[in-house]
């Protein structure tokens, strides 16, 4: 493929991690991040669509409940149905769940408080477009920052999710043990990140864009964006 990998970062009113996502991507020479306004109906040739963190529409109703009706989301859904790569981070994950592009729902943290801290994750799958630069079972440190990150799903969905191995990241301790004590928000089965059945849509509560430079205390997020770059370059 000639040219760079185009990452379309969607800006909803109330998004607040769109600059961070674009900035983190700008540290990859192969990436070309740009913004997509929520009222737009053209993804402008994006190879990857990123739904960033924040409080879209203030999240005064349910998180992500209004954003899913934005004009741009119809295009994102069509893009995903076509096999396009979509990454939802934090509020982006919440929006994808509301839009039924990913299973389950995100409830309020079990501690009933906003949480912002470093968090260990175990990489459950490395055969996805999002995680190929990680090694199986690798423990990475990526911060969480949310009030509604308590993922849950009905029994039937849970069974299907396990069967199809849709869980990509689980909350764990420093040694990689997936325990309740290592679960920051009460998410069912410690689910931190989840893949669509098609394997091309990923939603995750932790913020990989916050750990892409050593000056910020970690670089474990680079593997995720790097994997996406590899995938797109390979497909071209």
């Amino acid at each position: 493929m000639s040219g760079k990998v185009r990452f379309g970062v969607v800006v909803f009113p109330g998004s607040n991690c769109e600059y961070d996502a674009a900035y983190a991507l700008s540290t990859f020479p192969e990436a070309e991040p740009f913004y997509l306004w929520h009222k737009e109906r053209d993804l402008k040739g994006a190879h990857v669509v990123v739904l960033p963190g924040g409080f879209s529409y203030g999240d005064y109703l349910r998180t992500g409940a209004i954003a899913r009706f934005s004009p741009v989301m119809q295009e994102v859904a069509a893009f995903a149905a076509d096999g396009g790569l979509v990454l939802g981070i934090c509020n982006g994950f919440q929006i994808l769940a509301e839009a039924h592009m990913l299973p389950g729902a995100l409830l309020r943290n079990r501690g009933l408080k906003f949480i912002c801290h470093a968090q260990y994750l175990r990489v459950e799958r490395t055969d996805t477009p999002f995680t190929r630069r990680y090694s199986p079972g690798q423990v990475i440190q990526v911060p969480v920052n949310h009030n509604e990150g308590n993922w849950t799903a009905g029994a039937e969905s849970l069974e299907r999710i396990e069967q199809e191995k849709l869980v990509v990241f689980r909350y764990c301790d420093a040694e990689g043990n997936v325990t309740d004590a290592a679960n920051p928000n009460g998410a069912t089965d410690n689910v931190a990140g989840l893949l669509s059945e098609g394997g091309n849509v990923l939603g995750m509560m932790p913020h990989p864009e916050r750990v892409c430079e050593s000056v910020l205390g970690g670089t474990d997020g680079r593997g995720l964006f790097g994997s996406l770059i590899d995938t797109v370059l390979e497909r071209a």
Partner: protein, 765 residues
């Protein structure tokens, strides 16, 4: 009208003066506007004569006090805007919304200058949330005097349950607003003292980044230009907030004041922020001003007064939440998330289009005139007509100062003071778990402290450090102000607040470059309060001059009293430090086994005003040590130089809880123990190991350095005349302290449990 003025918080003298300025009896609209503009909150009636003492000039200063925020140059064409402001009374009445709108207000002040907010800090004070160790022992409570409190009475604010409720909801409100806006909250402080039980303090500070050419001010200009209101609609919320709420003491009518508290909408503010910065970058504003206290009345009159022009406002054009609002209500409503701008007719279409894109109301509500007057029209009828300059120039009140009766000239007499009440291990663990010292993790984990990808030194140290992506420089930010110590000596306390804030940023390696301050005091009409205020300002000003740090913005909050009981005099200093490269920053954590622990500066600590004195003797007595400003300046310069030369692996300011707590905090932050010998350090008294370990005083920093670099550290200190004493080495699994015959070793896990769990235990009750 003559009956109404008292209800609006005006005195008879002020009313007569208004009649004099107007040349007639004021209309209802005029009286409402005057009552707000001449309130203490907006008019600085009691403080203005003193604030002139602060140095405000400096080569980096691009904007001093008098604007929405002050601005300093940080090189590379960039500048930093910053300001701190109180939202004490609203938070005492409705903690979540009071704190949230406090954050919202200070954020608007920053982006009204054209700056993008890059971080916030919060300085909080509440009543006690957990019993003191002394409460279980027999001890005589000291007497408060002169209308100011001692440690004992907690009558006004309800019990500890109420204080916990206030604290938890204030923290949630700060997080709720800042997190949604995507502004990291990176530092701050909180203290719990009975003196704040009836009147909590909630001070919010924001720092913003702006390119020099994008700075905008609030001076209205250009006769015929549009006056444009944009953002939220105007409602009845917050009517009289500045006069009724902020400029009076609390009494039994506290609950009735709830409707004076506004409700925050961070989502709208986020849109407002983005549209303002977009339009500023396109230079679409002649002037910009946020709407805070006293709403349109204060914004429009200040803009007109600063520009030497007039403004006509048409209240019937203001988009309303409630259709039947009267003109006077529209003028003084404190509905949040609104801005007022002066826009040329040529730029109006672009401004309207940008607001439409962000789904924000945007309306031409008035026009710039050459009259010098604020005129208010309602459906064409003139309902108010006032000289803008007179509104912005509230009458000054002078109160005879009277020294508070509890203040003394001498420190406590140690020979007559009760012996330590427990072994040193027990006292240290208690202090580490004290709500005033324990880890603040419980608070800052509820704040997004990382968004914007700049936070390179996280909350929990002496100051937070942010990197500036465009230039690579580092900013260090902190707030400091110890009311309990200032209560014992306002002059020395004021000095200490500035010195400590400067010391905190110096310990990260940054040079202090600018101050914003929030002065929280009781009722200024009382002599003892007037005295506390004047002397605290004097002490602060003297310290600012010694350090060469200008005060670029600030806020005064008076009437922090309930049932006649004032809070501790609490000047809060917000400090900005600058380091040339963020890579040279230093933290508080001991980092390597075998490193040498040193004490730089060796001033004698004192029992007076210490956390230890309060917790273990139930007394706040004596006189805090004076800051030797020349020594303090030298010490901080040495610390910064040693960091810049790469000589130090850690640096930690020695303050609350004294030397023992500073050592313990460096151990805990690094997960490493230390072995130290404190024999021979300054201020030792026979039989009083407690003063050496837990006594407090300024001008001391605990550092660690690799053994091979200790000689270089010593040389730097010698050259600067700064005392430098080797205390011991980093290592082991405990903090082992030797002091004459006393030998103490406290295991790290016990210290960690006390320190990390302190706040949560207090909140669990």
């Amino acid at each position: 009208m003559s009956e109404l003025y008292a209800d609006l918080g005006l005195t008879r003298d002020e009313y007569l003066r208004i009649c004099d300025v107007q040349g007639r009896e004021p209309t209802h609209v005029e009286l409402a506007v005057y009552s707000l503009m001449w309130s203490e909150h907006c008019g600085y009636k009691h403080s203005r004569p003193f604030l002139g003492r602060f140095p405000t000039a400096g080569e980096r200063v691009l904007q001093g006090p008098g604007e929405n925020a002050g601005i300093v140059d940080i090189g590379g064409g960039l500048a930093v805007a910053m300001k701190i402001e109180s939202h004490n009374h609203p938070s005492a009445v409705e903690p979540y919304q009071g704190a949230a709108t406090g954050v919202g207000g200070i954020l608007r002040d920053i982006f009204a200058m054209g700056a993008r907010p890059i971080c916030s800090l919060d300085s909080l004070r509440f009543g006690e949330i957990a019993p003191l160790p002394v409460d279980t022992a027999a001890s005589a409570a000291p007497q408060g005097a002169g209308g100011t409190p001692s440690v004992a009475p907690a009558v006004a604010g309800g019990g500890m349950e109420r204080q916990r409720y206030l604290f938890e909801h204030v923290v949630a409100g700060i997080g709720g607003y800042g997190n949604c806006m995507g502004i990291p909250t990176v530092a701050g402080e909180v203290y719990f003292e009975d003196a704040y039980s009836g009147n909590c303090l909630v001070n919010a500070m924001t720092v913003g980044l702006v390119r020099h050419e994008h700075i905008v001010r609030s001076r209205a200009a250009g006769v015929g230009n549009h006056v444009v209101l944009f953002g939220s609609k105007t409602g009845r919320d917050g009517i009289g907030g500045a006069s009724v709420l902020a400029s009076q003491e609390f009494d039994e009518s506290l609950e009735e004041k709830r409707p004076s508290v506004q409700v925050g909408d961070p989502f709208t503010e986020k849109k407002l922020l983005e549209v303002c910065l977009e339009l500023l970058a396109r230079r679409k504003f002649v002037a910009l001003q946020d709407l805070g206290a006293a709403g349109i009345a204060s914004s429009s009159s200040e803009m007109a007064a600063k520009g030497g022009v007039g403004i006509d406002i048409h209240t019937d054009r203001v988009p309303l939440r409630e259709a039947d609002m009267a003109p006077w209500e529209i003028m003084i409503s404190e509905s949040q998330e609104r801005m007022l701008a002066v826009v040329t007719p040529a730029d109006w279409e672009d401004v309207a289009a940008a607001c439409d894109r962000w789904d924000l109301d945007c309306t031409i509500v008035g026009v710039v005139t050459d009259t010098g007057r604020l005129r208010v029209f309602h459906h064409g009828e003139l309902v108010g007509d006032m000289p803008a300059r007179a509104l912005a120039d509230a009458p000054v009140c002078t109160v005879a100062q009277e020294r508070p009766a509890h203040e003394v000239d001498q420190p406590v007499e140690l020979a007559a003071w009760p012996a330590p009440q427990a072994p040193p291990e027990e006292i240290l663990l208690d202090l580490l778990g004290s709500p005033n010292i324990a880890s603040r993790r419980w608070i800052w984990q509820q704040y997004d402290h990382q968004v914007q990808l700049n936070t390179v030194l996280l909350p929990g140290g002496d100051a937070a450090v942010l990197r500036i992506k465009q230039t690579g420089v580092g900013l260090a930010v902190c707030t400091d102000g110890n009311g309990r110590r200032t209560y014992l000596d306002p002059y020395r306390g004021g000095k200490e607040a500035v010195a400590e804030a400067a010391r905190n940023v110096s310990c990260t390696g940054a040079a202090p470059v600018a101050i914003t301050n929030c002065l929280n005091f009781g009722n200024p009409e009382k002599g003892p309060i007037a005295s506390q205020f004047a002397r605290a300002v004097e002490g602060m000003a003297e310290a600012c001059k010694a350090f060469g740090i200008p005060v670029i913005s600030g806020n005064v909050s008076f009437y922090n009293e309930s049932f006649g009981q004032a809070v501790y005099p609490t000047p809060v200093v917000g400090m900005l430090g600058l380091m040339p490269a963020v890579g040279a920053r230093c933290g508080v954590a001991f980092r390597r086994e075998g490193d040498v622990v040193l004490l730089l500066g060796d001033t004698a600590p004192a029992l007076d005003g210490s956390e230890y004195q309060k917790r273990w003797f139930g007394r706040v007595e004596g006189r805090i040590p004076d800051v030797d400003l020349a020594a303090e300046v030298q010490l901080q310069a040495v610390v910064r130089r040693a960091i810049a030369e790469g000589l130090l692996r850690s640096a930690h300011d020695c303050s609350d809880g004294g030397l023992a707590v500073a050592l313990a905090e460096s151990c805990l932050a690094g997960g490493l123990g230390a072995r130290v010998n404190l024999e021979g350090i300054a201020g030792q008294a026979v039989g009083r190991y407690d003063v050496t370990l837990f006594g407090e005083g300024p001008t001391r920093v605990v550092v660690s350095a690799a053994p091979e670099l200790v000689g270089d550290v010593r040389r730097l200190c010698e050259e600067a005349g700064v005392p430098c004493r080797v205390l011991g080495t980093v290592g082991g699994n405990s903090l082992a302290v030797q002091l004459g015959a006393e030998q103490v070793a406290i295991p790290l896990p016990a210290m960690r449990d006390a320190y990390e769990g302190g706040l949560e235990r207090a909140l669990a009750g």
